[in-house]
Symmetry: C2
Subunit: 378 residues, 2 copies
């Protein structure tokens, strides 16, 4: 796996690059649609490729481990064969999900014991078996097993948790280096910086992670409730320490403006369920602002869904028709909103990248931010 850094924005720390994987080249900055269970909710793989123009998608280790299970995925020949997505895939480690199971999980030095949210069955995730599962899934990028601390978080807990995450990282890397890919293509492991919103912890964690010289690095534990300014500050602090010649992935972030602000401090990769989840609730992100398509104001508005949109749904359907589909609980409404939002996110990254390459990112971002945050009410 190779990362080519192509440009640094003169007015910020934004970068443009290319991540070369066994399943294709990923231009950065990039947004990765989330395919929790292997498929991106309400969007065909063909649409992801041709309309959203996604170049990499996510899968979720916790969910895929429970259903369909690693055995079925192995029989298919890996997740690429199972879900029919032939481009690059990144899998999260399941850390975030199992820690979210609050009442039905227990963290020890060994790993995390948890109960399935589906049938209550008992399972154990360890740094070692989480690497093994991701080997079976066949992801191009494997994430280390970490603890995503809640926010706010006591300094003592955040410190102890960070050190455990570091020890788990060493065990992940040990297992990773002792095992081979199962399907003949290269896999890379990205460690995850933790440390809550404590600058000293973030600094220590980023230094610990940087010293591992992995193909790429991630920042976790942000966008969990802290103020946006703190998120940007923590991400920037980590970026200043993480190697310049490797991609930096900020996990689970965020709104369109969050993406631009985090790019400006040096982030290259993003994922978030927001475009699909909020889309299914009728929230549309556009370059002129946020639209709640269920609102009555759109009931008789027969203009195109998004005149500035890049995907076919933006001109094929009107605001009034999509509002009607939401009001009548038609699945097609969820499909349209999900596809629109993902295409918007990816096209915003493409546009940002072009501005970085041309050295005009900062002024463009300054113009875009107030528009993106605008609430369009008719």
């Amino acid at each position: 796996m190779e990362f080519k850094l192509l440009a640094n924005d003169p007015g910020s720390k934004a970068r443009a690059g290319e991540l070369h994987t066994a399943h294709g080249v990923v231009p950065t900055p990039i947004f990765m649609p989330v395919g929790t269970l292997g498929g991106v909710k309400a969007v065909h793989m063909r649409e992801l490729r041709e309309d959203v123009k996604a170049s990499i998608i996510l899968g979720n280790t916790y969910h895929l481990y429970l259903r369909p299970g690693t055995e079925v995925i192995e029989h298919a020949g890996g997740l690429h064969k199972f879900n029919g997505w032939s481009g690059p895939i990144l899998t999260d480690s399941g850390g975030f999900q199992v820690h979210s199971l609050n009442e039905i999980r227990k963290i020890t030095e060994e790993g995390v014991k948890f109960q399935s949210h589906i049938d209550g069955s008992r399972h154990l995730f360890t740094p070692e078996n989480v690497v093994d599962i991701q080997r079976s899934i066949g992801a191009d990028i494997i994430m280390a097993f970490d603890e995503c601390t809640p926010w706010p978080c006591e300094l003592k807990y955040a410190t102890d948790s960070m050190h455990r995450t570091h020890r788990w990282l060493d065990r992940c890397l040990h297992r990773f280096n002792a095992t081979d890919p199962k399907y003949g293509h290269e896999q890379a492991l990205f460690p995850i910086v933790q440390g809550s919103t404590f600058p000293e912890l973030r600094k220590a964690s980023a230094e610990y992670v940087a010293a591992k010289h992995t193909h790429g690095n991630a920042i976790g534990g942000l966008s969990v409730g802290e103020p946006e300014e703190e998120m940007y500050a923590m991400a920037g602090l980590c970026c200043d320490i993480l190697p310049k010649d490797r991609p930096r992935y900020l996990m689970g972030v965020g709104t369109p403006w969050n993406l631009l602000e985090n790019m400006a401090v040096g982030i290259d990769m993003f994922d978030c369920v927001m475009p699909t989840r909020n889309g299914r609730n009728g929230m549309l992100f556009t370059r002129e602002g946020v639209v709640q398509i269920k609102n009555k104001v759109w009931a008789d508005d027969h203009s195109p869904l998004d005149p500035n949109g890049t995907s076919f749904v933006d001109s094929a359907y009107s605001k009034a028709f999509v509002r009607h589909l939401f009001v009548t609980n038609e699945i097609l409404g969820l499909q349209i909103a999900s596809l629109h939002n993902l295409a918007f996110y990816v096209s915003l990254m493409t546009e940002a990248r072009q501005h970085i390459l041309e050295g005009t990112f900062s002024s463009w971002k300054a113009r875009m931010l107030p528009k993106l945050k605008n609430r369009i009410t008719g």
Copy 2:
């Protein structure tokens, strides 16, 4: 509106033709996907056109009248503009739906008083206002307002109901002839033959309808619980009376084998929610038989969804992946099954039509029927 009869099958009463409408040519026999609320459930308009290869779709007067309402549709410039489907549209009259409201509707000579299934509000459908609503919707083919009798049905009730349906037809035609299309394109009104499963009534009703010399004719009140052989017998009896030079539409039918059997007695047009509704329950129709994709037997079957399928989903996804999507309640599973089934229905019509044109329909049908009815269990 013009119907060109191109071929009669030598071994049956099957016909191949072309129905010319203001929004395009419909090859017959044809299957019309149902877009109850304006959109076909879980299928994009682009997919309907390019993948399903639908040449005409249905809208539902009852549902569209309640939501979004005729005013919004008029402001859009008709349903074609509202839903973005630029091909031909047929609207049912709402008769079937309001009669299905059993407890919350009352039939009188004037029409049907009913309560909305959404908010309980009170409404009245009459032959006149149902024509007006369909003028506002702008359907290429408008259906007469009728009573769809339940099955079984007393002779007395079926007789009285049929005569009322005939009187309503006269009122529909009177209103239709006294009004103009609203959007500049031609609309045609199809009357509906009723009479339950009483041959004398069906004969009387078909003769009544035939005498109106409309652009096309429909047969209603079948596929409501009667044995399949009775359905075919009644459809055949009506076809023998209805004009040869006009298309014959059998409403709300049915399974793939129902379609072939009814073609053989002279039916040209079909619609049914079965491919989409059953698809959403995991039932896939294929040329080798019926598959219940949720069954455990498919959990580890990584072969293409349907190796004989004509749509992209058939090769893009495996049985195991689609089964996984259904088991995990992913919307994408509903999308895949709906698109597959509709594409299969339409392609089966295309193949049947080719055999009618070549004079080989009957032997082909005899070979196909046992395969279509087969239950594939792995």
